[in-house]
Amino acid sequence: MRTKKSTPYLFLAPYLILFVIFIIIPTIMAIGLSFTNYNAVQTPQFVGLTNYINLLTQDTIFLQYVLPNTILFAVIVGPVGYLLAFFLAWSLSQLTRLPRTILALIIYSPSMTMGVAMTVMWRVVFLGDQSGIANYALTQLGIITEPIVWMLNTNYIMPIVIIVALWSSMGVGFLAMLAGLLNINAELYEAGAIDGIRNRVQEVFYITIPSMKPQMLFGAVMAVVSAFQAGNIGVMLTGSNPTPQYAAQLMVNHIDDYGFTRYEMGYAAAVSVSLLGLIYAFSFIARKLFSSKDE
């Protein structure tokens, strides 16, 4: 539409101002702080790349626990969660309306429980004594004889965190893919059949995915973001940061540990910037895979 030159900016201004203040500026500040030594009281001291060098060479906790944990967590919860979301959406799209809506609602609802509700739920399920439902069920099935203290046993913390994260990962991206699937023109499938597509697998790769690339990309970006954001699960479940013996320590927790427990803000900022960089790299790969811009 035609407008005065100033009109678009007037409409954009409120969003843009808040966007700049609370998203752009903090990000730039984090980048700035990451090159300094800052304890939240004295003025930041410029130290160049020291923080990044320390992160990659000196920080044994980061190298030994945090980085491997984060990558393991992100790869399982990101791509695996994403494939699962697509597979579930694809299956649901072939059902009739009412059962589809009910099942989709149940599968989506865990993603609404992030935060307080989620913590309580899973803490109760994984109580460390006989009265915990997980322990009881496993004892009844004869798999274990002694109750497992889930939240203190370093062998189990990470798998539990991953299960909980996967459980709650069928969120906006899942809904977007389901909507995308439902909107594919049915004639495309018929045309595909004439062109010699013989089975469902071929259909998925030659018709379904190409016709919903934009939703696939949106879903992928959401999967990456929520995978990295879900980092608080471990701390919430075990009730401590760092998690017992760093068993489920992720980058998000490492940032809080350094920023708010040790007040090494500059160092924490360097970890933040690395985290944002990592998220961006993952999303960039997703874009390369699904972008439909140049077709």
């Binding site: 969003y15 843009l16 966007f19 649901l92 072939q94 059902l95 739920m121 973001v225 874009r287 972008s291």
Partner: protein, 288 residues
Amino acid sequence: MAVGGTKVNPKKFHKNQIPLYLYLVPIAIFMGAPIVYIINHAFKPMDELFAFPPRFFVSHPSLENFRNLFQTTADSSIPISRYIFNSLIVTLGVVFLSIVISTMAGFALSKMNFKLKGPVFEVNNIALMFVATAVTIPRYLTINALGILDTYLAHILPLIAMPVCLFLIKQFIDGVPNSLIEAAQLEGASAFTIYRKIIIPLTKPAIATGAILAFQSVWTNVETSNLFTSSEGIRTLPFYMNTLTSVGTVQGQGMAAAAALIMFVPNLLLFIVMQSSVMNTMAYSGIK
């Protein structure tokens, strides 16, 4: 019909759908079970919380946990009603304001022409990947510099600009026919009138979706209370619930389950009411 057998959005039940149910139903049970469990847990009286072997379902539902929850707060200096009041103000503030600014910005980005249009939308797309927890410290410094620490604004302002909201709303506004807007302009309608009379009514599904996303981001948010406020009287319900849940006693467990239910139910109801709007909006969610 397609040879592959994929039939999208079928009208009738067909025996081809049985295999799908065979795995979708167990998965749905796995996804739903913890939620069903916590709902039952919240209504269990003390002896059932203690019961061994533990029971999944409640047999004599009682409101004991909810009573305990409210009684604990009656003894403390700040009653639970205060936390509820704070949560309502903050939640309504965030949902309302984020819808207003996202629809305005979405209108500009979708239907108006200006130099920075492309770059602004691109930056917003990149910001879809923004993870707020990664920049908590600079955010704290910003809020401190603005002088709004320990006020309602510290809860509200940081959460209003939601890149996902703007993105979904803008994509949806793209679907509003230009001819409608042009016709209104011919009759002398101003940009603001068009926004109010055409854009808002025609983007209701996207607004509902944005409202849900904003609601979810604020309703269970503990961070703003934890980090940006220091006086108890200004903190919100999820923060308070969180302090309860860290109590490890069995009584605490029952109260925590009750608290979890209170936090979860509004979320669920809102989504159920608006689910068809959400699905409608999601159809436009693609990133090209």
